[in-house]
Symmetry: C2
Subunit: 337 residues, 2 copies
């Protein structure tokens, strides 16, 4: 086997990748590592069966080396280390307003088309970002989630000296906290899971457990009464939405990072009363990938503590079962070659 | 009588204003007109009895002439025409972040302290904005709501050529639409009341009746598929909140103007998916009053069609009863001298 296929009903099936010859603009990667994203877990649970084409190779947090270069591709050489920005812009529509990274006809590679949980992955060359030689390929597989964090921080316009509260301390929440701290912000992470809290504190970040303490009082103490300049809602739960409007200062910003599939009650009065702002943020633009690679290359963000486990691709089924059993886990990487 | 007192339970009682001598920084106005705001109607309905001190003179949309100048007040002369910006900043707290117009300890004059429904009104001189001589005192009483609209448009960063949808065609919604049009935006107003729709159309604005047509399709047609750059939610109802996230383009803005006392379900997924932004906007800052006065002085905004009725102060009880019976009415002015 050189690929694993999501085949529905919480099942992965080992198999062979189709022998594709490269089309114009394409590159074949020797995939090094593919991280498991929360979205992959949603797929595994069957929540996205309308979007994936079963059986399908999934996965989109990928590092690798260039193995083969298709017609018309310039600027890349076989053997170069790269990370993949898994976005395929579609035909633009007027309401896209030029934002190709989230355009209406965007295809997400690894969800809407085959992903990186295979030994050899064919992707458009425009998705590639080169990794400096000294960046490890494990860190390379963390560039995609780190770019999400860079995008969220950029859209939240986090400035040095600002007070930032991150609601939800999973991998993305922690990466947001680390990037915010690197920007010079003071950071507090709200997270209920004790194991995650331990990890977050080991990274030198301040924390509050909302099951044990009031996040409003904690934010007040942490900020010396100034309250949060920026709040990141990364929890995806109603309690996070309930608390997010209580934490900002007047004209503070709330960045909506989490996916809330169903409408949830929001304190709109608070938006009015304190002139709060809500900023939706999704995926990344090329500059976010470049920033993420720069942070990883400069050793500015501590990525190793976030890697919970590295497993061979063949163990994909056990990995997803482990993730389901262990809510405290962070990033699981699959070694694909 | 020279004053009317809200005395609870949908009742106004005629009475006399207390004979106050002016303190340092105060000015006595000969009130010309006092407009009735939606907030005054809320007070009349008893919804704000915790905040007003019954019996209390209310009203905050005021024009008048300076009748007497207190100690230490400079730059004003008796007889000058003014409009009142009815905000009394309180002791600042750190989380105000310097925004005195909505600071935590702000007092709203006319709600938290006596208002303008009286012949002579004592206010701090810092609340006054001079009106050019040729601006009518009726228009002067419209400066306060017009300043709200200017503030909303400013915070929504409306640009020439942008597509703007206003949800809710009451006085504030119409003023927002008119200021947006003056800025060069294309404007569509969504409003279900047929009488209001007629008035809005008579002002040359495009409309959609959400009970008869789909506002999403109407916005699509109106914007030639580009959808709204900015949406103003002024309706204050759940249907407005439901539709507000459906109308913007990618990275479009939604300005929260309406008061939603209780949390309402919001499509947060849409904020994430299309990177929408929500901008809370409340009252005004001094520059919004200056902009409103400039618009009124230049005849740039058609204010007369919005004045439904002008009544003597003595008829305040009938005026509020009329407002309750006539949801299509716009602005009711009380003549206070």
């Amino acid at each position: 086997m050189n690929a694993v296929y999501y085949s529905g009903n919480k099942t992965f099936t080992p198999g062979e990748a189709p022998a594709e010859s490269l089309q114009a603009g394409q590159v074949r990667l020797k995939v090094a590592y593919c991280g498991v994203c929360g979205t992959d877990v949603h797929i595994y649970h069957g929540n996205m069966d309308k979007r994936v084409k079963i059986p399908q190779v999934i996965g989109h947090e990928v590092s690798g080396e260039i193995a083969e270069i298709g017609p018309g591709v310039e600027g890349f050489a076989v053997g170069e280390k790269v990370a993949v920005r898994p976005l395929q812009p579609g035909v633009p529509v007027p309401s896209d307003n030029g934002y190709t990274h989230i355009g209406q006809n965007l295809k997400f590679i690894g969800i809407d088309s085959p992903g990186g949980m295979q030994a050899g992955w064919v992707v458009p060359a425009h998705t590639l970002h080169k990794l400096p030689a000294h960046v490890s390929l494990q860190h390379g597989a963390m560039i995609e989630p780190l770019a999400v964090a860079c995008h969220d921080i950029r859209l939240g316009e986090v400035q040095a000296g600002e007070n930032v509260v991150v609601i939800g301390g999973g991998p993305i929440g922690i990466l947001i906290a680390l990037v915010a701290r690197h920007r010079g912000a003071h950071v507090l992470v709200s997270e209920p899971n004790p194991h995650r809290l331990q990890l977050i504190r080991s990274l030198g970040l301040q924390t509050v457990n909302p099951r044990e303490a009031d996040p409003v009082a904690a934010t007040e103490a942490f900020s010396k009464g100034a309250m949060a300049d920026v709040v990141f809602e990364v929890s995806g739960v109603a309690a996070g939405v309930q608390i997010m409007t209580q934490l900002p200062r007047i004209r503070g910003r709330i960045v909506m990072v989490a996916i809330h599939p169903e409408p949830k009650p929001v304190d709109l009065f608070r938006f009015f009363w304190r002139e709060l702002r809500l900023i939706g943020a999704r995926v990344y633009e090329p500059q976010d990938f470049e920033e993420a690679i720069g942070l990883a290359a400069g050793g500015k963000i501590s990525l190793d503590p976030l890697i919970t486990q590295v497993s061979p691709l063949q163990q994909v089924q056990q990995v997803f079962e482990t993730i389901d059993r262990n809510p405290e886990g962070m990033k699981y990487l699959l070694k694909c070659n």
